[in-house]
């Protein structure tokens, strides 16, 4: 029991994933600044922001709305993100092997933070938050189908195994999935899906700060917003790690492989940041068409190519 709590709360769960996620949030802001020929913030800036929100600022409760759901939603979202961080990071660091079907459980757990943001926004009683929430729901509806198809494709490619750990092992012996054409197609779809899940720019229409004033997070302040920021940091860390696990053959932490593992995660991350910086925000109809039509076609093409042996 004590061991599980340690896994959940400290390493590799809440604390560790959040701290690394904070550093990754700095990488995100720094690369964005360099792309725009700016200097960028100092390394510890995400932690300053988080601590300021957590300790200094007041938490304002909305006048019209349900205070309990408003405050409970970020906490549940954080627990959803932490639980998925556990399932992703425990096999990645080789601590435990996971269990049969953990990749399916992961699919559900990764949906929890977004759903909780929607509930929190609905509970705040703010009309702009409601607009953001409805956009987020439509976005979830569009990318979840692509995401489950990508996961199904990965399971097919690994010969019907449902262990995340075995999927990684198989890639280490037989070559990474990215090495085949179908793997590349699945990887492209997965990249756009996690872009939507992390709420980065082409798909940040739920929190568009210039049109609906941060949408879903508009009413949050102080500690509640700090928890949301922390959830975002964790997601920004575990989503690239998940993609690196299922397409680049996982992470190993012995000798020179440490460098390779970090490079894999950074590669996915930099791709996400570059997509974010070179694209405008899409409309909700464009996002839905992009995922429901084009990305699903891409994944299905990938599955067909897999059956043809490519």
């Amino acid at each position: 029991m004590g061991e599980q709590l340690f896994y959940f709360l400290i390493y590799p769960g809440m604390l560790f994933a959040g701290v690394v996620g904070g550093l990754i949030a700095w990488v995100d802001r720094k690369v964005t600044a360099r792309v725009q020929f700016r200097q960028g913030p100092p390394v510890l800036q995400p932690f300053y922001d988080f601590l300021k929100l957590l300790l200094v600022k007041e938490t304002v409760l909305p006048k019209h709305g349900s205070a309990i759901f408003f405050l409970l939603a970020p906490v549940l979202g954080l627990f959803g993100a932490t639980a998925s961080a556990l399932l992703i990071l425990l096999p990645a660091f080789g601590i435990t092997e996971g269990f049969r079907g953990d990749i399916i459980v992961l699919f559900y757990l990764l949906a929890i933070p977004s759903l909780m943001f929607v509930i929190g926004a609905m509970a705040s009683g703010n009309p702009l938050s409601a607009v953001g929430a409805s956009r987020e729901i439509k976005l979830i509806l569009s990318y979840e189908l692509t995401f489950i198809l990508v996961v199904a494709g990965v399971i097919l490619k690994s010969g019907q195994t449902l262990y995340l750990d075995e999927i990684m092992m198989m890639q280490q012996t037989q070559g990474a999935f990215i090495g085949s054409i179908s793997g590349v197609l699945l990887f492209v779809a997965a990249l756009f899906t996690i872009q939507g899940k992390a709420g980065l720019v082409p798909f940040d229409l739920a929190e568009a700060e210039t049109e609906i004033a941060e949408g879903t997070f508009m009413e949050y302040s102080g500690t509640a917003y700090a928890i949301i920021k922390y959830t975002k940091y964790i997601l920004l860390f575990i989503l690239p790690v998940f993609v690196a696990e299922i397409f680049f053959g996982g992470l190993t932490f012995t000798g020179i492989h440490i460098l390779w593992s970090i490079l894999k995660v950074v590669l996915v991350l930099v791709l996400m940041i570059l997509i974010r910086n070179t694209n405008p925000r899409v409309k909700i109809s464009q996002a839905m068409r992009f995922f429901l039509l084009w990305m699903n076609l891409l994944v299905i093409a990938g599955l067909v190519l897999h059956y043809l042996g490519l």
Partner: protein, 127 residues
């Protein structure tokens, strides 16, 4: 520091100078400052432009909605004293007669250097 920008009845010159601070040449993100879209997230309320009767109610409402502690910066001659509008009929007083102001950045419009210097002085007093 997260900055929320409140524009009163401004001539837009100060707004353009504020945008200058986000560009590669001045880049206030070096100091961890960024503009946010919601007053609930703001640490600094940057008020520019002359405040007339209609703006006054809105400024008060934004100030009350912001999560405390919040620091108010009066930006530009109009924000600090009223500037050339000070004797006009719709003028409802400079910012510091409506809400408490922590820093003044004068100028018409203030240079971006003046804004960075003012915000840095403010962040030193906070520590």
């Amino acid at each position: 520091m997260w900055v929320f920008h409140f524009g009163g009845a401004s001539c837009n010159n100060c707004d353009i100078e504020i945008l200058d601070c986000l560009t590669p040449r001045y880049d206030v993100e070096r100091f961890g400052m960024k503009l946010v879209g919601s007053p609930r997230h703001a640490d600094v309320l940057l008020v520019n432009g002359s405040i007339n009767g209609r703006d006054k109610a809105r400024l008060l409402e934004v100030y009350e909605q912001a999560a405390k502690p919040i620091y108010v910066v009066a930006f530009g001659a109009c924000g600090c004293t009223g500037g050339i509008f000070a004797e006009g009929l719709p003028f409802a007083g400079p910012v510091d007669t409506i809400i408490p102001v922590d820093a003044y950045i004068p100028g018409c419009p203030p240079k971006p250097e003046a804004m960075i210097s003012g915000l840095m002085k403010l962040s030193e007093t906070i520590k």
